[in-house]
Symmetry: C2
Subunit: 342 residues, 2 copies
């Protein structure tokens, strides 16, 4: 009797905020080892990564990537173990990271460059390859190191500071001698950001609901002004940061999650780009594969030696993925959002 693969498909596109009805849980047979074609590898996924970028793929409006097709398995990064292989570089039992999608088993064409990568779990837990030493970690590394280019003594602000990307950015900036101010949602996250991750300060954006109070809180937390900002959220926080930016400040645009569902949120005062001679730059980490070796060396080293801390929110079972994803869009997760599949 063949094994069953539980999968989540995109059933419909959201009009505004996504709902559970946009997703559909289905069953499909798992191929047997004999059914694999040459070059294929069958992976049993242990963890699925949930990430804000998936919200963009659910819509078919203009974005940097093709929309997720309807009635197909939702895309997503996974880590797991090889359970069958017809590729010479992969053996049963290998720990791997791949774009396995929202499902329990994934058939991967290992001959495609970058489609699947073996990982070393002796000093780094498997799930971390979806977080601090995976795409979110390299995202943080790229935006900080290549766009913000912080110097020791400068002040860097990081929004969504307790999240998978933000927590990496802040710890990398601290390692470079910066003053680091986080922005996170709620006192628990803020306490974690300062006490566990070692940021110098953290603002609770839930308590800062207008531009004046947000700007005043930033002024107190960043008395010398802001030189760099890693932006994951947009909206009011971005407007407040721009008011406090020093001349020649740099803002790396990684995410604008505040406006992902609904109307775009305007930038209140773009003339500050001129007044403060700012550089604002958007980026997508997958377009910069050349930085992976350097970024992974620093991130892997810090995680293996305990100098890079991270936290995970783990949902249990593939059926929980839609709800966990909708929670992520609302900031309900605390740290890297994963779905445990085994």
């Amino acid at each position: 009797m063949s094994l069953v693969n539980h999968q989540i498909l995109l059933a419909s596109r959201p009009a505004a905020e996504p709902t559970p009805e946009n997703f559909k849980l289905v069953e499909a047979p798992v191929p047997t080892a004999e059914e694999l074609a040459e070059g294929q590898v069958l992976v049993r996924n242990h963890f699925l990564s949930l990430d804000p970028y998936m919200r963009g793929r659910m819509s078919d409006s203009k974005s940097y990537a093709e929309p997720q097709p309807l009635d197909a398995v939702m895309i997503g990064g996974t880590v797991g173990e090889v359970v069958a292989s017809k590729h010479p570089r992969f053996d049963v039992g290998d720990a791997v990271v791949c774009m396995g999608g929202w499902q329990e088993y994934s058939l991967i064409d290992a001959s495609q460059r970058g489609a699947i990568t073996k990982v070393d779990t002796r000093q780094i837990p498997l799930s971390a390859y979806l977080g601090a030493v995976g795409m979110p970690g390299v995202t943080g590394w790229y935006g900080l190191v290549k766009i913000i280019e912080p110097k020791a003594g400068e002040t860097v602000v990081v929004s969504a500071a307790s999240g998978a990307v933000g927590s990496v950015v802040g710890q990398l900036a601290k390692a470079r001698g910066c003053r680091v101010v986080g922005i996170a949602g709620g006192p628990d996250k803020c306490r974690y950001v300062t006490e566990e991750l070692g940021f110098d300060a953290c603002l609770d954006h839930k308590a800062l609901t207008d531009l004046r109070s947000f700007s005043a809180a930033l002024k107190a937390a960043a008395p010398n002004g802001i030189d760099g900002c890693f932006e994951n959220v947009g909206g009011l926080g971005l407007d407040a940061v721009m008011l406090r930016m020093n001349a020649f400040g740099r803002i790396a645009f990684c995410g604008m999650i505040a406006g992902y569902s609904g109307q775009p949120i305007p930038m209140a005062n773009p003339s500050l780009i001129l007044v403060s001679r700012l550089k604002l730059q958007g980026f997508i980490v997958s377009e910069h594969p050349e930085v992976w070796p350097e970024a992974m060396q620093e991130l892997g080293g810090m995680v293996a030696t305990g100098r890079m801390k991270f936290r995970e929110s783990v949902a249990e079972g593939i059926a929980s993925a839609p709800e966990a994803f909708l929670g992520l869009l609302k900031g309900k997760n605390f740290g890297k959002q994963l779905v445990k599949l085994v």
Copy 2:
């Protein structure tokens, strides 16, 4: 009997739009040659330059420069001739460019680095040193060459295209093999931009009063999308340009004249910075003196050989400066706005 120096002072700061009452015409004695201190040079100004940056100096809100003091001569660039000198490098009769201010005669401390510069008027008219081969020209050169960094075949959009800065940007971009689309106010300016300056197309922003029509016009004029934008205006045109920017596009923020008097004009959709991986960068040319020699070589060569065209709006007499300046803020000038003082 001593000569009279007519001067324009800043009498009061504007609440919103500046008015003629913000300025005051006064008379002051012109020092005699004997009254000069060591190192001083007396210049009889032939032309005063009027520029949008002066609007910012009239206010005392946060900006990149100190506000213009009240009851002092308005700052401004001038060209003229030396009429008395106690500095060994300057002789009576020399043609010079300096920050002479809104007045007929200026006493300059020539020992201050960069305060006054001799210019060569054999192939280049004196007034051009306030335009295409002066601060506006180098401004255009810096934003295009150092921030937009255009490649042949790319499309560059220039707002305020018939102005002192915009006309230089477009001609430099054409010389680099770009498709160049201007934005200007009114059919006369647009015709000049395409027929005289050689831009490939020019949009009349007065006929494009909503985002949809502006974006559609840009789509028609820039069928391959926009790779670079030199922004002098901001507002609706900037929003429309951002919608049509290609991936990895660059926007140089030189001016935001649309919002100079009144509330800041928001940017409608900053998430496009991320979606299209844009770079937006503000700059002030005076902070980059290192580029002057290279920029002046290209600009001077093009003007001297007729490959760089420019146009001037000339007001007559110092008393006409306030009205000419207020007209400049409303786009009433056509090309570089000057005041002729002799």
